[in-house]
């Protein structure tokens, strides 16, 4: 059993599959036998806004909402959102894993703001003494599978202690079926070529 509370903060842009990734993680944690609470915040997310999901593991968890600077693990599916969540939520010596997709925010497209560079994420990672894992799989045919690529690496690096490969696979089988499940399981088991920063 996990000794204390473990907080996971997930973020991305509407349409990237944060909801599914969060639901898989939540169920995997449950299959591993831990107490868990979660909450999704999507507001108008379907329209290209930010989607946030929070998962809190442990006996002494009350609110599903994580306090700022208290996330042990931040999972991001987009680079701007990775930096945003890192600055707001990641604790010192925590871990950030992010899929390095760029969906430019409105002001970046309009030339009014700068796009986030990987270097900024690395710099903040050093400030926080955090572990940063960048994931990039350009050969993925379907961008909507980027979430499972990240999940495969969360498993590979054992980023949620006590949750094993079988638990993730059980969770995926709870939520998907047929060819979709097979494709995602295959990716989950075989994802290898992340770039560690």
């Amino acid at each position: 059993m996990m000794a204390s509370v473990f907080n996971i903060f997930l973020t991305g842009v509407g349409g990237q599959g944060i909801g599914m990734l969060s639901e898989i993680l939540l169920r995997a944690v449950d299959h591993a036998g831990f107490m868990v609470k979660a909450v999704d915040t999507h507001g108008l997310a379907q329209r290209g806004g930010i989607v946030v999901s929070q998962i809190r593991i442990g006996e002494a968890v009350y609110s599903p909402l994580i306090q700022s600077g208290c996330a042990d693990l931040v999972i991001a599916l987009e680079r701007h959102e990775a930096l945003r969540a890192m600055a707001e939520m990641l604790r010192e010596k925590g871990t950030l894993i992010y899929y390095d997709a760029v969906w430019q925010p409105l002001d970046v497209r309009l030339g009014k703001a700068k796009t986030v560079k990987n270097r900024q994420i690395d710099d903040l990672g050093r400030t926080l003494n955090a572990r940063v894992i960048r994931v990039h799989r350009p050969e993925l045919q379907d961008a909507r599978m980027q979430n499972v690529a990240v999940l495969g690496l969360i498993n590979k690096y054992n980023l949620v202690r006590g949750v094993e490969s079988i638990h993730y696979q059980q969770a995926m089988a709870d939520l998907m079926a047929g060819a979709g499940l097979e494709a995602n399981l295959h990716l989950f088991k075989n994802v290898q070529n992340e770039i560690k920063v």
Binding site: V36, L65, S68, H80, P105, L106, R109, D174
Partner: protein
């Protein structure tokens, strides 16, 4: 794959990880609820998603999306006076729409019982305000139960339904956004379906049901008597929670989700306050609260949004001559925002800085905001791009509620005022009075047209207001997750005849009606120019199916092939109309001024082609294996990371 339907219809007790909205549906089933109605609005639409997982013929109750919240409330009431336990659910501001009917309910003998489920939105995550609907409870003498998490959503609905049925009345179950969307494992009970007695049981002798003038007083007395019974319910030991930390100096009275935030904030401190969590903010559990006040020297009322509890508790302490110090809201910030753990830190730090510290400081942020925006391929984008060209900068545009509201953002800036469902035509009519110089254009979506749009439209015809109304018709209630409406050709349960908006407008006698697909930007621009030139009430129907819905449906088809546009870098003169004025999120601006297409986002709709002055956007073609990552955002990343 676990099916939600199988879970919801399980006969034996079971435990499952569910969100609050799903827990509610299981509670409806176990309670024997027979009629459920709604109008879609965040944070409640997932209630209908769970209901929709059960095919109509297997569903233990009737469900419909009604045309608006008021009608939904009336349908539920009508069913309940016929003997059926009923439930209506909608978002916070939906109660404003339903109010005219809702405030009468407490006066009626609602024989079947009725639960009104409200999805309040502290923090205004997806609403035009963060109104505190507890005020309505007081005004209408309606008791409220307020769950803090999915487990309580389930248990409190069972309580509310049983109480409503046994007393023949309406009870509010007030959820908030992060109660609806919170997930945890809930232990559910048996479902023992009884053969329903569908005999229409309405009997005027159960009434009276006609409140008129002096006849109203017996009705009001009935409401007040029911409220007295609810006071006893409010005192129930099994509903309220006391956390006794052995602290006679300090206590906190709270309710709902803020209770969990409070627990989070005080769990690791040396001398935590005692806590009383009330299940019912109205009517107040006066004896329970008195006892808590008597046992503490100082009590903080920790209350999200307005000061309902604080006012009641201070009044109670005064009446009962209690010496305790009661601390309520300290400043305007205490009235605003969701009481998350961070917020509770800030609120409590003002009162007890010795035990509660402020939230951790965030690191300075250098990331652009990410406002919600119209999806790739959205017909509204094409429409706004064209309409903006038809209007002078000084003209006035009025938005309504729906996806098209997002047109207020750059680069369109279409829709300069917004109020609530259906308000655009009325506001536009007012803006047209004494106004000879600035054209007035109002927008409305198709679901809103039926919901609350018609009275404003009929008023504009009847009183001859010279404005142009643009109906942004996408065939669905898109903003809340694609629920069908009266012109969709389907209701929640089956195919129906469409009620065509064009024919309604014709029947109303509107002389100037223009209609075009929104992708035909030149035609739309001309139509708007002609419409505003009439100086009469004119309507332009700008129609295009919701492309988010359309694309999702296409992806499920076996022969689906993704299409995308490609920008010809030889032809592109970097004028950037596609980014700066058309504003599709699929376009990527590169540091050197080049524009490419983000392959993760483009759906190949091609609505952008006509906007490019250099004709540099090539017609959409099928995406080849390798092509995806060569063009646009992802390849840009590869270069950067090398």
């Amino acid at each position: 794959m676990k099916k939600m339907k199988d879970m919801l219809l399980t006969r034996e007790p079971f435990a499952e990880l569910v969100m609050g909205n799903t827990a509610l549906v299981r509670a409806m089933i176990e309670s024997g609820t027979r009629v459920v109605t709604s109008y879609p609005g965040s944070p409640t639409p997932e209630i209908a998603t769970a209901i929709g997982s059960i095919p109509p013929e297997q569903r233990p109750f009737y469900f419909e999306f009604s045309t608006n919240e008021k009608v939904a409330t009336e349908v539920a009431y009508g069913a309940a006076v016929n003997g059926h336990l009923s439930t209506v659910f909608f978002k916070s501001v939906g109660l404003n729409v339903a109010a005219d009917t809702f405030v009468q309910l407490s006066m009626m003998n609602i024989t079947g019982g009725m639960v009104i489920v409200l999805g309040d939105d502290p923090g205004a995550n997806s609403s035009q305000n963060e109104q505190d609907n507890r005020h309505y409870a007081r005004m209408s003498y309606t008791p409220i139960l307020e769950p803090a998490d999915p487990r309580e959503v389930y248990h409190f609905y069972l309580k509310a339904a049983a109480f409503a049925r046994s007393n023949g009345m309406a009870v509010i179950l007030r959820l908030t956004t992060h109660v609806c969307h919170a997930k945890q494992k809930v232990n559910f009970g048996h479902w023992r379906p009884a053969v329903p007695d569908d005999t229409p049981a309405f009997d005027p002798a159960n009434g009276p049901y006609i409140p008129l003038a002096a006849l109203v007083f017996p009705f009001k007395k009935r409401a007040l008597e029911n409220l007295s019974r609810a006071r006893k319910l409010a005192e129930s030991q099994d509903l309220n929670t006391i956390v006794d930390n052995g602290n006679p100096a300090r206590g906190v009275i709270t309710a709902g989700l803020p209770f969990h935030s409070l627990m989070e904030v005080v769990k690791d401190i040396p001398k935590p306050p005692d806590i009383l969590k009330l299940a019912m903010p109205y009517p107040l559990a006066a004896d329970t609260v008195t006892s808590f006040l008597e046992n503490h020297r100082e009590v903080k009322v920790l209350e999200e949004l307005d000061n309902e509890l604080e006012t009641e508790i201070k009044s109670l302490a005064f009446d009962r001559g209690l010496k305790v110090k009661i601390v309520g809201k300290r400043d305007l910030d205490d009235w605003m925002g969701e009481y998350s753990p961070d917020k509770v830190r800030i609120v409590l730090n003002k009162v007890w800085p010795d035990i509660v510290g402020l939230p951790k400081k965030e690191y300075p942020l250098e990331v652009a905001h990410r406002p919600a925006q119209l999806c790739p391929g959205c017909g509204h984008r094409s429409a706004f791009f064209a309409i903006k060209q038809a209007l002078a900068d000084t003209d006035i545009t009025v938005a309504d509620i729906g996806c098209h509201t997002l047109g207020f953002l750059p680069p369109y800036e279409m829709g300069q005022l917004l109020m609530c469902m259906g308000a655009s035509t009325g506001i536009g009519s007012g803006l047209s009075l004494f106004n000879k110089t600035r054209k007035v254009v109002a927008f409305i979506g198709d679901s809103t047209f039926f919901h609350a749009g018609l009275p404003g439209i009929i008023n504009a015809i009847f009183n001859q207001h010279p404005l142009t109304l643009i109906v942004m018709e996408n065939g669905t209630t898109a903003m809340t997750g694609h629920q069908d409406h009266a012109a969709s050709g389907r209701n929640f349960n089956r195919a129906t005849e469409k009620i065509p908006i064009r024919k309604i407008l014709e029947a109303l006698g509107i002389k100037h009606i223009y209609e075009t697909d929104s992708y035909q930007q030149e035609k739309l621009r001309l139509a708007v120019e002609q419409a505003v030139a009439t100086d009469q009430f004119a309507v332009v129907i700008a129609r295009h199916p919701c492309m988010l819905k359309f694309t999702r449906q296409r992806r499920k088809q076996a022969n689906y092939r993704p299409y995308q546009v490609v920008i010809d870098q030889q032809k592109c003169k970097r004028i950037q109309t596609c980014i700066a004025r058309f504003g599709c999120p699929s376009f990527v601006r590169h540091a050197n001024g080049a524009v490419k297409v983000n392959p993760d986002l483009c759906i190949g709709d091609g609505s952008c082609l006509q906007t490019c002055p250099s004709s540099a956007i090539n017609a959409p073609g099928p995406v080849e294996g390798g092509n995806r990552t060569v063009e646009g955002g992802t390849s840009h990343l590869q270069k950067e990371s090398q």
